[in-house]
């Protein structure tokens, strides 16, 4: 459903851009004519008419686009899953570029390997040094292969823990971005102790005395998401989803039929609004109509404001209160 709408909208985007390009050309002609002409009104008649026509066309196209976008005001859970996985959606590197400064990347678990599906380091947020990290997805197939589509192996969780332990040591708040199809179901991932790596992160994150804020930006699935998501505050972008596993996986486990994905989406209660109601998510961050991929600047502005508000609140607490605040959040669930 949303994919068809977005196709239309993107078609219109392209048309609008094309007409605007032509209009700009006409405007340039106009400027030239004005500069060299004696009888401006007469000599520019054609261009002025043409510009008016272009303007009319743009208005028409834009109102058509508005019409289609207004359809995006009511999205089904399945639509949101589609948007959450959109290849042009902002990813962890875009967020770090967008709202942090002074980023210094840290690589490797310093035990065995560098897992590129986790990306992170030290940066400043509103001038304050923080540790920032997240699952990494790419915008292209090539990048996605490199980042294993944002599916960490144990080395990724251990790298994340290394970064977070340093944050605890140097009293830096931790900000994590969650966007993963889940843990990687590979043979080596199992042999290297996937379960142990996730469990250790959960245990250690519960003990930190520095504020931890997690932002679910795309899809947050399974223990692979939670392994960097034991936080004082969980924020979710409006079209992000967070669940026990992917709707396809859910359908295939429960009904032995991965094609019943739509049905799974409906009953899994995985949207930001559902999670807010379940008191797992603390605040939902507004996205542009039609999804975050349509306007990065707007997403960054909205996220920056909400993130800063929550961080300021948490920084008022004592280190011990920060820890017990986080433990209470999970203690109360179930």
């Amino acid at each position: 459903m949303i994919d068809k709408i977005l196709e239309k909208v993107e078609e219109l985007d392209a048309q609008i851009e094309e007409v605007e390009g032509r209009a700009t050309e006409v405007t340039q002609d106009l400027v030239e004519v004005v500069e060299y002409s004696e009888e401006v009104m007469e000599d520019t008649f054609e261009e002025r008419i043409s510009l008016e026509e272009h303007d009319k066309e743009i208005i028409k196209l834009k109102s058509m686009r508005e019409y289609f976008l207004s359809e995006c005001q009511t999205l089904t859970p399945e639509d949101r899953v589609f948007l959450a996985r959109h290849s042009q959606r902002p990813h962890v590197d875009d967020f770090i570029d967008g709202i942090f400064t002074d980023f210094f990347e840290q690589k490797g678990d310093h035990l065995y390997d560098e897992d590129q599906s986790i990306y992170g380091g030290i940066a400043r947020f509103h001038g304050i040094p923080v540790t920032v990290l997240g699952h990494r997805k790419g915008h292209t197939m090539e990048d996605n292969m490199k980042y294993n589509f944002g599916m960490p192996c144990p080395e990724g969780y251990r790298k994340a823990l290394r970064l977070m332990n340093q944050a605890e040591k140097f009293k830096r708040p931790i900000i994590t971005f969650i966007d993963t199809p889940g843990a990687y179901p590979g043979m080596e991932a199992e042999e290297h102790g996937q379960g142990e790596a996730i469990a250790t992160n959960l245990a250690k994150m519960s003990q930190f005395h520095v504020p931890v804020i997690s932002v679910v930006t795309g899809e947050g699935n399974s223990g692979g998401a939670l392994a960097i998501g034991v936080a004082n505050r969980i924020l979710m972008l409006e079209n992000a989803v967070y669940s026990i596993l992917s709707p396809e996986g859910f359908a295939s486990i429960l009904w032995k039929d991965a094609n019943r994905k739509k049905e799974a989406c409906e009953i899994m209660k995985l949207t930001a609004a559902d999670l807010k109601e379940a008191k797992v998510c603390d605040e939902v961050i507004k996205e542009p109509l039609g999804g975050a991929q349509r306007n990065y600047d707007e997403v960054m502005r909205n996220l920056d404001a909400v993130l800063w508000k929550h961080l300021q609140e948490l920084m008022k607490l004592s280190p011990n209160d920060v820890k017990s605040d986080r433990q209470m959040k999970y203690r109360k669930i179930g």
Binding site: A183, P185, G193, A199, T200, L202, I244, I267, I333, G334
Partner: protein
């Protein structure tokens, strides 16, 4: 102690001790057929062998209460939080009916059973997951009961022993199931900080969310022979890597070889091994 302790009935019926179907003759169980070798042995022999096949050595799943009776000194334990009931936080279609069926089939309220008692004279808090109840999957009540029992061990300063057996997440409880991983792991970490001994004993099967939380956080990790232990299930892995997995992959012995298990302990040595460990960690 009084109020939270409930004395449970420990006279379990014969059919509830094991997960296998049994041969019946005149309402009395005489023979039990092995799931693996398909051969029949006398029930008396099975029992003497702690429900490990007397012929081929295959481990049968045993109930939580039967496990408790093997571990604790005779008559020396009390069930904790026995009245916690399964919940349905997502109002999931048909879930309540399924839970009711599981309750009837197993005589349990949920997949986790917790108890405190004496083992070789040493006080200990024990949690057992029963694989017969929804495959021992992690529901919010399982998470809450496990957390409460760990907190009990922390407060009362007793060692903690958890026997895991779990198919993973309780799908019908969605995100609530996932969040139990964070809650139980935090409880283990607080228990660790208090200086207590945690023995994690992995039984068939230990997978998914339980593997990725309390089951792999023990000071000592033991495993029953031949148990399937992992995070992702073998079928999912094979579908992902498009390859057949090697023989014995994710079995106890494989995990021991890859450095995740201290010792594989047969069922008939389970109690003695635990007593040895409790004594080695006894505080003066």
């Amino acid at each position: 102690m009084g109020s939270i302790l409930k004395t449970a009935s420990f006279s379990f019926s014969k059919k509830r001790e094991i997960s296998e179907e049994v041969d019946q003759k005149d309402g009395e169980t005489l023979f039990v057929t092995c799931k693996k070798c398909q051969r029949r042995s006398m029930k008396r022999l099975w029992k003497e062998n702690y429900y490990v096949c007397p012929i081929c050595g295959k481990y049968q799943s045993i109930s939580a209460h039967y496990r408790m009776s093997l571990i604790f000194d005779p008559g020396q334990y009390k069930e904790l939080y026995a009245d916690m009931k399964a919940s349905d936080p997502m109002n999931f279609p048909e879930y309540a009916q399924k839970v009711a069926k599981q309750k009837e089939a197993t005589g349990l309220e949920e997949a986790a059973v917790a108890a405190v008692g004496r083992i070789g004279g040493h006080k200990a808090t024990v949690i057992v997951l029963d694989s017969r109840f929804f495959m021992g999957s992690m529901s919010s009540v399982v998470g809450e009961k496990v957390t409460k029992a760990i907190e009990y061990a922390t407060k009362k300063k007793t060692p903690l022993i958890i026997f895991s057996a779990s198919g993973g997440a309780r799908m019908q409880e969605g995100i609530y199931s996932l969040m139990q991983m964070a809650k139980t792991s935090a409880a283990v970490e607080e228990f660790n900080a208090s200086g207590g001994l945690y023995i994690s004993y992995l039984t068939h099967p230990t997978t998914g969310g339980v593997t990725a939380s309390f089951a792999t956080l023990g000071d000592i990790t033991l495993a029953e022979p031949g148990a399937l232990i992992g995070f992702a299930g073998p079928r999912v892995i094979e579908q992902t890597i498009h390859k057949k997995l090697p023989k014995g992959f994710q079995k106890s012995e494989y995990l021991e070889a890859h450095g995740f298990v201290d010792k594989i302990v047969p069922r008939n040595e389970m109690r003695q091994t635990i007593i040895q460990l409790l004594e080695l960690h006894e505080k003066k």
